[in-house]
């Protein structure tokens, strides 16, 4: 059996979710009622039998570390292999690497030691449910040097502007990598490559003073490499702005979309919180809403997502909103198009209304 080791490279994921990324990096932002962004890619790896994962992170990684522990929830708390969270802590004065090559260079030991034949490199912003063993099978079948994963989107949204796009020939071979606005083959920030090749590529990048692995080692050299394109056909959401976060969260209320992301045989795993089942009081009214455990609901909730441990008081009305962990919403409040970060308290009688295109975001621990 060929083995894959994973690298999650957060170096290029800037803290673009405004209030939600004041105190945490994007990968640690809560999503879908009981998860964090990073849970999706990490669960995909576990479900694909990947047992060695490195995480390259540079800033605001404390809440990410708290969440990931030693990888326990993903069965990655192992002595051999397992999850390695690798913030920068480099003290070699002779080190000339720059940009994300600093991570690749200083953590080359991980690549060398990993009991793996292939290395999979990903980000955390592309929410999906993918089997990387299938990607590997296609990679071997195509005899490619590098396989990149893309989604052919039905419609281009603003969040796709920042992604690389792929031009693909009829052999599923990548002929160009670019940022053309109208191209619907969106690169999902996932590539697979043989261990020996990535080691060579890293050394080559450093020797040439490069600072961005994907741009310099793959995009710039696409004509001399055989780059295969793997088409991912399941549910896909790219979250790199408040607007895309809000719109893609709402998509989860569609049962079909929901089923493509949450599969029995490839579950999304996350850190366990011991919340009781949610409680609906006799006068509650809930409709078209995702509810995590530990909530106590005495009001009216529709088209919304409630994270764990939320309290909704009597007579409160919540519409088209995302309410994160342990928010306490008092009686007779009215919330519409709102995102409340964790631990917010909304006092009796308050009304907060945002716009559909621009939800009203309340940062962590605010009391209103």
């Amino acid at each position: 059996m060929d083995r894959i080791a994973g690298i999650i490279n957060l170096d290029h994921e800037h803290d673009v979710l405004e209030e939600l990324t004041y105190f945490r990096c994007g990968a640690a932002v809560p999503f879908a009622g009981r998860y964090r962004m990073i849970d999706f890619i990490l669960s995909n790896m576990t479900n694909s039998r990947i047992v060695s994962v490195a995480l390259f992170t540079r800033r605001k990684y404390r809440s990410l570390m708290d969440h990931l522990e030693q990888g326990k929830a993903w069965d990655l708390d192992r002595t051999r292999g397992g999850l390695f969270i690798l913030p920068p802590d480099w003290n070699d004065p002779t080190d000339i690497s720059r940009g994300d090559l600093q991570h690749f260079h200083n953590n080359l030991d991980f690549v060398h030691r990993a009991l793996a034949d292939y290395i999979l490199v990903t980000g955390s912003q592309n929410i999906c449910n993918i089997d990387f063993q299938e990607v590997l099978a296609e990679h071997k079948e195509a005899k490619a040097d590098v396989t990149v994963v893309y989604k052919k989107v039905d419609k281009l949204y603003p969040e796709h502007q920042l992604s690389h796009k792929l031009t693909i020939d009829d052999q599923q071979r990548v002929s160009a990598i670019h940022n053309e606005r109208s191209e619907k083959n969106v690169y999902m920030d996932i590539f697979l490559v043989k261990k020996e090749l990535i080691c060579d590529m890293i050394e080559d990048c450093i020797a040439h003073g490069n600072a961005h692995f994907f741009l310099d080692a793959i995009k710039a050299k696409h004509s001399s490499l055989h780059i295969h394109a793997y088409e991912y056909k399941g549910m896909h959401a790219l979250v790199n702005s408040i607007e895309s976060y809000y719109r893609n969260s709402a998509k989860l209320l569609d049962a079909d979309v929901h089923d493509q992301l949450f599969k029995q045989d490839a579950p999304i795993l996350t850190k366990v919180k011991n919340e009781a089942p949610s409680k609906y009081l006799p006068d509650s009214h809930v409709s078209n809403t995702l509810v995590a455990n530990g909530c106590i609901i005495d009001g009216h909730v529709e088209n919304s997502i409630l994270f764990r441990g939320v309290r909704i008081g009597e007579g409160a009305v919540i519409k088209d909103s995302i309410i994160m962990q342990r928010c306490d919403i008092a009686r007779n409040t009215h919330l519409e198009n709102v995102i409340l970060d964790k631990d917010c308290r909304i006092s009796e009688g308050q009304t907060l209304v945002g716009a559909t295109q621009k939800p009203y975001v309340v940062p962590k621990r605010k009391i209103i």
């Binding site: 089942p277 949610s278 006068d283 409709s287 078209n288 509810v291 530990g294 441990g309």
Partner: protein, 386 residues
């Protein structure tokens, strides 16, 4: 490593025949409760929350479900390198050995297990009650009083006292007498099946009891009376709070309904005393447009399109359009067709219910209906033939 001051032994062996086919395949402590839990989550969580990190779980019949559920104990933070939780089925010893013939015999056969930790005290628990209890408090009381054994008691209504093991005490809480189901109770202090013993004292009595061919090897019937006979110091510790024996279908149903009170006596949302449980990794529950969910407790992984009223629903249940669930407990992964009506029932894990089925009797005086895999198959067979 130092010895363990206190080791807990949880008696999880019984078949619980009063729970009928709920316990056909699984040990009683593995029975589901409260939309998310199994009964054993309560004593295990109490141990963890009380700072006890070494627990033996004594099991006899069909330990596989319990073994699989407990795993290495990580759900209860009991995946310890030294101590932690160990499932202890009976095993062959070089000179004989065999099935557990009673609660005391189960502990007797595990003397070697206990000796490993050189405990000063042993906490004996039973696996069939729902309660939140700080064992640290009874333990401090036990040590403070210098007792040989301390028994946790709870005040029960006088008219029900004849259904329990009753402790008669002197003015200082010392137990003078033990009456098993007395016709004319002298006290209303019922034993909760929670004991703390000095290990050296208990060990001596267990060894003597094992030699006694006339003994039934039971804590309540043999060990406690023997200690009292020898004037050992037995103290009663009075527990206050919610405590429920869920040994029958009715009491199990009632305990579930108790949770739906606005301020339930058993608060599962108390972050200072969480009930820990194995997490089935389910997405959030989805309440569809048009669904009505009121007075209910629902777990993750459910999808509700119909009506749920005064009911408890475990994970992975899909309540489809036109379904009406009232006064019921629906256990994990029940598959239900459309337009099903269920009243006053407990539906067990994985049961399959056909479109339009009508289950249970809504009359408040009716018995609680128990629906199992087998009863579903029977009903389907009956429908096909009629």
């Amino acid at each position: 490593m130092k010895n363990k001051e206190c080791v807990a032994m949880l008696l999880a062996g019984g078949q619980g025949t009063r729970l009928k086919s709920l316990t056909r395949q699984i040990a009683k402590p593995a029975v589901y409760f409260g939309g998310k839990y199994r009964i054993i989550d309560f004593p295990l969580s109490n141990c963890t929350n009380s700072g006890i990190d070494t627990v033996g779980v004594l099991t006899q019949f069909e330990p596989l479900v319990l073994n699989d559920y407990i795993g290495i104990g990580s759900s209860w933070d009991l995946d310890r390198e030294y101590g932690g939780v160990s499932v202890l089925p009976p095993y062959v010893q070089y000179e004989g050995g065999g099935w557990y013939s009673g609660t005391a015999n189960a502990i007797y056969q595990n003397i070697k297990f206990l000796n490993q930790f050189e405990p000063e005290h042993v906490l004996i628990l039973s696996g069939d009650h729902i309660y939140k209890m700080d064992y640290g408090a009874i333990f401090d009381y036990h040590k403070g009083s210098g007792a040989d054994a301390t028994i946790s008691v709870i005040e029960v209504p006088w008219q029900e006292a004849d259904r329990f093991g009753i402790m008669n005490t002197d003015g200082n809480g010392r137990i003078t007498e033990f009456d098993e189901k007395p016709k004319e109770p002298k006290s209303n202090l019922a034993s909760m099946g929670v004991y703390v013993f000095k290990w050296d004292v208990l060990k001596k009595y267990l060894i003597e009891d094992a030699r006694n061919e006339n003994s039934s090897h039971d804590f309540g019937k043999d060990i406690i009376p023997a200690l009292l006979y020898d004037y050992k110091k037995l103290m009663a510790y009075t527990f206050e709070g919610y405590w429920k024996d869920v040994g029958t279908i009715e009491s199990l149903w009632e305990a579930n309904m108790d949770l739906l009170e606005k301020d339930p006596a058993l608060n599962l949302n108390d972050y200072s005393w969480q009930i820990l449980s194995k997490n089935p990794n389910q997405p959030p529950q989805y309440i569809a447009p048009g669904a009505t969910v009121q007075n209910a407790q629902i777990n993750e992984g459910c999808r509700i399109y119909g009506t749920v009223n005064r009911s408890v629903i475990f994970y992975g249940v899909h309540v489809k359009q036109g379904c009406y669930i009232k006064d019921s407990v629906i256990m994990p992964n029940v598959q239900m067709g459309k337009n099903v009506a269920i009243h006053r029932a407990i539906v067990t894990e994985g049961s399959v219910i056909e479109d339009g089925a009508v289950i249970g009797d809504p009359s408040p005086s009716a018995e609680i209906t128990l629906v199992t895999h087998e009863s579903c198959a029977l009903a389907a067979n009956y429908a096909a033939n009629s």
